[in-house]
């Protein structure tokens, strides 16, 4: 099982949204990280066949992204998906099931099962227009899983979910990772940290890093420092180093920063986490 993205680019006028991205995805969870405008959604749309690349190819086990067979294997949750306000949750899932080619007899059973999984069983007959943002998001997750897809692409799946639902969702994704290729993008770095086997880091349309958490963190390994300094010193350090955290503490300022060497007296080296890497890459200083 291989999802192959080969030198895929997307150019709008003189703006390069995705620049010659090549990836080879296998079973497991991939976390796609990047700032707004990095090209994550563009890449995901191209992987779902709703946006044609300017160049490059996307195939799954040799099946082109434009083919019906490819879409048959795909589950997709867009960032802001459209729904039909007059439909109830069950009708929406049955409609999506029909679109995915699931026979009517199985569709109802599958829809009920998924509604229960996303805690919407009691709301099955309620119109979607009455749903909160989180409920709509859960419904979106349910529709993406209707056809038991081999490729599951989730754009900001945890947006709008409360912490309890987020944890439940993370566990659900983890439980499915053994048999699917799951690609999820999110701004919530901890979600990726918890469930992603591999992390893909995008910046300005380019894939700047990919690998396991440890591999990816090696970039800033032993370069993360914490210190408590006066305000003047803090300003000086802020201009010099990428700041990961900035917090007022009584008269002083607490700083967490990235530096090749010890930035100041009293600074302590600390263990790097994914959020540090994220901030390091997407800090304007860098």
């Amino acid at each position: 099982m291989e999802l192959c993205i080969d030198r895929v680019s997307k150019i709008y006028g003189n703006k390069i949204a995705c620049d010659r991205i090549s990836l080879s995805l296998h079973k497991g969870v991939y976390g796609l990280l990047g700032a707004n405008g990095a090209g994550k959604t563009t890449l995901m749309r191209m992987m779902c066949g709703v946006l044609c690349p300017t160049s490059g190819t996307i195939t799954f086990d040799g099946i082109d992204v434009g083919k019906e067979e490819y879409r048959d294997l795909l589950g997709y949750l867009p960032q802001n998906f459209g729904y039909y306000p007059e439909f109830c949750a069950m009708d929406f899932l049955l409609y999506m099931a029909a679109l995915k080619g699931i026979p009517k007899v199985h569709a109802k059973e599958k829809a009920s099962e998924l509604l229960e999984l996303v805690s919407l069983k009691n709301e099955a007959k309620k119109k979607i227009r009455t749903f909160s943002g989180g409920m709509k998001q859960r419904l979106g997750i349910a529709q993406a899983m209707l056809n038991n897809p081999k490729i599951l692409i989730l754009d900001e799946p945890t947006a709008g979910l409360d912490p309890k639902e987020r944890i439940r969702f993370r566990n659900l994704i983890s439980s499915m990772s053994a048999e699917k290729i799951i690609l999820l993008s999110t701004h919530i770095v901890s979600d990726v940290e918890y469930i992603a086997d591999k992390i893909l880091l995008m910046k300005a349309g380019q894939m700047i890093h990919q690998g396991t958490l440890d591999e990816i963190l090696s970039v800033i390994k032993e370069k993360v420092w914490e210190c408590r300094v006066e305000k003047n010193k803090a300003d000086e350090l802020s201009e010099k180093y990428p700041i990961l955290n900035f917090r007022n503490e009584d008269e002083d300022i607490f700083l967490r920063l990235v530096s090749e060497e010890k930035p100041c007296e009293g600074a302590n080296r600390t263990e790097a986490v994914l959020e540090d890497l994220y901030l390091y890459y997407f800090n304007e200083l860098h």
Partner: protein, 409 residues
């Protein structure tokens, strides 16, 4: 196949479950239903402003008079008989209407339809034929009714922009008409044909509002991403959408037609289906009965609705919101009604008659200007619906491809 029908069910639900859609549909039906009663609501008043009778009673009286004349040949005997009856109306003063006189009521009213038919022929652009002329209708003029008609027809045909071949064909067609025409009461059909124009326009407007969102609504709501990434979203769903819009349109327009027809027949009477269409318009050159022309007109009208719908569906696949689809379609539907193109320019006249809203007019369906394709002369009532259907078949795949290749940006 079951997936297709399943999707059809959902597409029907999506289109018709909205309160706005139901309201627009019901409003369309109500307006169509009420418009039939337009001419029988109210009263007839005399010169002093007193109510003489209700319009309904007036219509029933005219119907009775016309039924008495039904079956009679439209020849000099009938024309002179009618002229004699009209001659009994006293000379009019400038402020009065001849229809308010007791003599009109007593003698002439029963022949009012004959007077109308005479006016269609005797009236010319240079010489107006009015009631005084009819009162003094000479025997010679009454006898030459069909000669004058033929002369006027030939003059009109010669002034059109048709080719010499088509002109000759139309003149020959007109000459083959069997005269004298037989008078029949056919007000039910006449009303139906008149009302159906506005009913069809109304129905097309309703359909446009309902289906402007068929594709653009998906772009607008953001559901396009889900649809186009699903297995059947780029093929079977589009077929289902197209099936839904056309099947619904066929059913809705057929319902409005049937409603209007039933009402017209119940109120004004169903007599006259075998009458020649010339009793509606002396310039029609076709040997066709009213009943036949009604069937042809209804089919032509449905084809015009389909063409209008095809344009709506295509625009829906192009525009990103239904609002602009409705705006452009409304303009395309309404603006051509104000075009008045002379028969002298055959090409422009033909194009004008092929615009859906103009195609919905009975006068366009049985117009004397013939179409010519590769030297073949084709009657307008054949060419127009065929053209509409062919263009519909041509346009719809463009909408299909446009939605299928839509890029979510």
């Amino acid at each position: 196949m079951s997936i297709f029908w399943n999707l059809v069910q959902f597409e029907y639900k999506k289109a018709l479950v909205k309160k706005g859609a139901i309201l627009v549909m019901i409003l369309g039906i109500l307006l169509a239903g009420i418009s039939v009663f337009g001419t029988i609501i109210g009263n007839e008043y005399n010169q002093d402003g007193e109510v003489q009778r209700s319009n309904y009673e007036g219509m029933m009286l005219d119907r009775e008079y016309q039924l008495q004349l039904s079956g009679r040949a439209l020849d000099e005997n009938l024309f002179l008989e009618a002229a004699d009856a009209y001659a009994k109306i006293p000379l009019l003063n400038t402020s009065g209407r001849y229809t308010d006189t007791a003599e009109y009521e007593k003698y002439a009213r029963r022949y009012s339809s004959i007077y109308s038919i005479c006016r269609m022929v005797y009236n010319a652009s240079s010489v107006r034929f009015d009631v005084e002329d009819f009162q003094s209708l000479s025997e010679d003029m009454a006898k030459s009714f069909y000669d004058i008609r033929r002369e006027r027809m030939e003059q009109r045909i010669m002034h059109t922009g048709m080719s010499e071949k088509a002109k000759a064909d139309t003149i020959e067609l007109d000459r083959q008409l069997q005269t004298p025409f037989i008078f029949e009461y056919a007000d039910g059909y006449q009303r139906f044909l008149a009302i159906m124009y506005t009913t069809a326009m109304l129905g097309t407007g309703v359909i446009t509002i309902l289906f402007a969102s068929i594709f653009s609504g998906e772009y607008d709501s953001g559901a396009d991403e889900l649809i186009l990434s699903s297995r059947h979203g780029k093929r079977i769903l589009i077929y289902a959408k197209i099936f839904v819009v056309f099947s619904f349109t066929a059913v809705y327009i057929a319902f409005l037609t049937l409603l209007t027809y039933t009402e017209c027949m119940l109120i004004y009477g169903a007599e006259g289906k075998n009458a020649a269409i010339q009793i509606f318009g002396m310039s029609f050159p076709y040997a066709m009965t009213v009943g036949q022309s009604v069937v042809i007109y209804c089919l032509s009208l449905l084809a015009a609705c389909f063409l209008s719908l095809a344009i709506t569906v295509f625009l829906s696949s192009v525009f990103k919101t239904p609002f602009w689809v409705i705006v452009v379609c409304s303009l395309l539907l309404i603006a051509p009604m104000f075009l008045n193109i002379s028969e002298e320019n055959a090409l422009l006249f033909h194009i004008n008659c092929l615009i859906p809203s103009n195609m919905m007019a009975y006068e366009c369906t049985v117009n004397l200007v013939q179409y010519e394709v590769f030297g073949q002369i084709i009657r307008p009532y054949v060419f127009q619906p065929l053209f509409a259907l062919i263009l519909t078949i041509v346009i719809v795949p463009f909408a299909y491809r446009r939605f299928q290749r839509h890029q979510v940006v």
